[in-house]
């Protein structure tokens, strides 16, 4: 049999049928649902008198709208509350398991699903959320879908899909001290652009990826969508297996032994051919900070804001000018001279325990700068929060002047009350710096947890490697 990519192994194993034009009907093993992109899908089922075909394959959690403080009072915003209640009612009606408000496991869907052992190698995983790519870290094929497709999966446990192309990004050598998985993926997006991988499933490979923890790999795969990719994935190795051992929903006993033997198969075969290949040197990557309104507008911490006049492509030039005007920044400004108003540490990109540890290490025995109006830590899940508290990280943050909140998507997309005011500048560990993303008129600078923490301490960006 010819050498196959990781992607092809999973795709081929899930293809139920294929039409003459190449459209495939794919079986979906795991479906994750949250409150924002599902109500219209459930409504569609009701209108067409359809049921959920395989309820045991779907898991739900409210995350986008949930408040991050004063939970005892419930959700104050009536519109948000209705959406969360609608999810709970839909799950009850259609027999879907939900990690509801008040469940200690509740949190950001892409944090809790791996944490619970719901994401296993070789599976197809979908969710009505673009950051579903996160789960590719486990050697799965995981991708975001729209609400019509959510309805399609609920009704049929399948999706009709066009086969994407494959791309391998090989990161040779390892990241330097103080440089994290977040810097790696921000750097990649800066290099290939936000449409650099459109139509492709990316496999991240190479020594630097192998050296990453599962949390680090999730951060990298999470932002594959920001490079336009359909999916991001990493082949299975000992890190994958070790992470899954004893997770609540992972197989146990004899099933575990059989599953592990099977999972080892989810790597690209030697000699497998990709549609595109790109190799980059991970040791050359510095901590990264975004300066504009697209995740491709990226600079190293030692760098400065580029001059649109020097850009050859007129469309890029015009985008950069608009971005600088929106961000209130001048070409040539050093990244370390950008002052910050607020800091957000959290999200499906960087709300895991390793992220909080990295931030706490920077914050320990220091104080948030007096110029910082708000520094927030929002753990990715109830279990991350509990673990951080057991390790005393909450006290490190609180002593330094951070607010320690309840889990949720929070200021990553500002659907709850955690919103920036117009013109406010935020060092954020989230994934998107789009105009208005963190609130109308908000200005977002994407960075790693350690870099965001260091910006909170100094009031502006600093090179975390020099602290």
């Amino acid at each position: 049999m010819s050498a196959k990519t990781l992607f092809a192994k999973i795709w081929d194993a899930h293809q139920i049928r294929q039409d003459a034009d190449g459209t495939a009907l794919l079986y979906i093993d795991r479906h994750l649902v949250h409150e924002v992109t599902s109500p219209q899908a459930f409504e569609g089922l009701r209108l067409n008198r359809r049921t959920v075909r395989t309820p045991e394959a779907t898991f739900a959690v409210p995350d986008h709208n949930v408040p991050t403080r004063d939970l005892a009072q419930g959700i104050q915003d009536p519109v948000s509350r209705l959406q969360v209640e609608t999810l709970e009612n839909n799950c009850r009606e259609f027999g879907i398991r939900i990690f509801g408000m008040g469940d200690p496991r509740q949190g950001v869907v892409h944090v809790i699903a791996p944490e619970q052992g719901l994401i296993l190698p070789g599976l197809t995983v979908v969710c009505g959320d673009s950051h579903t790519a996160t789960h590719g870290a486990f050697g799965t094929l995981a991708f975001g879908i729209g609400t019509s497709e959510v309805e399609h999966v609920l009704a049929t446990q399948t999706l009709t899909q066009k086969r994407p192309k494959t791309m391998r990004l090989t990161l040779t050598n390892t990241l330097g001290p103080g440089v994290t998985s977040k810097d790696l993926v921000l750097y990649l997006i800066g290099q290939i652009g936000t449409a650099g991988a459109t139509g492709h499933a990316i496999e991240f490979a190479g020594e630097a990826i192998r050296a990453l923890s599962m949390e680090g790999r999730m951060t990298v795969c999470n932002m594959a969508i920001e490079a336009g990719a359909r999916a991001g994935m990493v082949g299975v190795d000992d890190h994958t297996i070790d992470y899954l051992a004893n997770r609540p929903y992972a197989p146990k006993g004899k099933d575990w032994i059989e599953a592990v033997i099977h999972w080892r198969h989810y790597v690209s075969d030697p000699g497998a051919v990709f549609d595109r290949e790109l190799t980059l040197d991970a040791s050359a990557i510095e901590p990264q900070v975004s300066w504009g309104t697209s995740p491709e507008m990226m600079a190293p911490i030692s760098g400065q804001i580029p001059d649109p006049d020097t850009m050859a492509d007129p469309v890029r030039q015009s985008s950069a000018r608009k971005a600088l005007a929106y961000m209130g920044l001048q070409a040539g400004t050093r990244i370390t001279d950008i002052p910050i108003d607020k800091v957000f540490i959290g999200s499906c990109t960087n709300g895991r325990i390793e992220d909080l540890r990295a931030a706490a290490q920077v914050v320990k025995d220091r104080k948030v700068a007096s110029s910082i109006k708000l520094a927030l830590v929002v753990p990715g899940s109830g279990l991350v929060k509990r673990q951080a508290e057991e390790e005393g990280l909450d006290q490190i943050f609180i002593t330094a002047g951070f607010e320690w909140r309840e889990p949720g998507c929070s200021m990553c997309l500002a659907m709850n009350n955690d919103v920036l005011s117009p013109g406010e500048r935020c060092a954020s560990t989230s994934n998107r710096n789009f105009e208005g993303r963190q609130g109308a008129g908000s200005r977002t600078h994407l960075a790693s947890p350690a870099m965001a923490a260091a910006a909170a301490i100094h009031g502006h960006f600093v090179d975390v490697r020099r602290l």
Partner: protein, 223 residues
């Protein structure tokens, strides 16, 4: 879904690359549990000078006169001309819902983000990919010519300019078929129920650990 065959309309040129779905429909409107009513808030932050809120009427809100959608010559347009990577970012289907609710049935750009591209077809919107030079030309012509119109023919897969020149475009046969007939693709998939059932039962037999029975949900509860 409303069937799609031909559209002939004024064209709005939106001259920006990487227009994301947060810009198409800002997050505060995602709290709705309906599929309709998003049109007045399409491009809300660019279109209005104040901040839009769900449930707040857009009648009488101060509009941004510089934003292209607000210019009188483009009123009633059903075709949106855009730049590279249109619809990037969040998977929110509220973006095509808002475009459709406003009146757009055709989007033309050099490239689209993948999830958004799929979402369009599910809602009776035709996203057309034309090469960068052609899109550049359409931008120049649409901006320079008040009342500039294009005619889009899906069965023939062509966009016809006012000078009578037809630009061919590609569309995958399955999506084209669904769009022309306004088909619900869940209904089409359910015709293959027997194949799905056979696949699923084999998968359950070969890899039982993939499936998580209801009782397993009690594992891991700690509160």
């Amino acid at each position: 879904m409303e069937p799609f065959r031909h559209i002939e309309s004024v064209v709005v040129p939106l001259d920006r690359a990487n227009v994301d779905t947060d810009a198409i429909i800002p997050k505060q409107f995602l709290k709705s549990i309906q599929r309709s009513g998003f049109g007045p808030n399409l491009f809300d932050e660019w279109r209005y000078l104040d901040r839009g809120e769900p449930g707040k009427s857009c009648q009488g809100r101060p509009v941004n006169p510089d934003f292209v959608l607000n210019q009188p010559r483009y009123q009633g347009a059903q075709i949106l001309l855009a730049r590279d990577n249109f619809g990037c970012g969040s998977s929110r289907e509220h973006a095509p819902w808002a475009l459709l609710d406003y009146g757009f049935r055709v989007l033309i750009a050099p490239s689209f983000a993948d999830i958004f591209f799929n979402n369009c077809f599910k809602n009776g919107i035709l996203p057309i990919i034309l090469d960068t030079q052609t899109v550049d030309r359409l931008f120049r012509e649409a901006s320079a010519t008040p009342g500039y119109r294009l005619a889009v023919d899906l069965p023939e897969q062509g966009v016809t300019t006012p000078d009578g020149h037809t630009l061919p475009f590609q569309v995958d046969p399955f999506s084209k078929h669904c769009l022309i007939h306004g088909l619900d693709d869940i209904g089409l998939t359910l015709e293959h129920e027997e194949e799905i059932r056979q696949y699923e039962s084999k998968r359950r037999k070969d890899y039982p650990w993939v499936f998580i029975p209801e009782e397993a949900s009690r594992l891991g509860f700690s509160g």
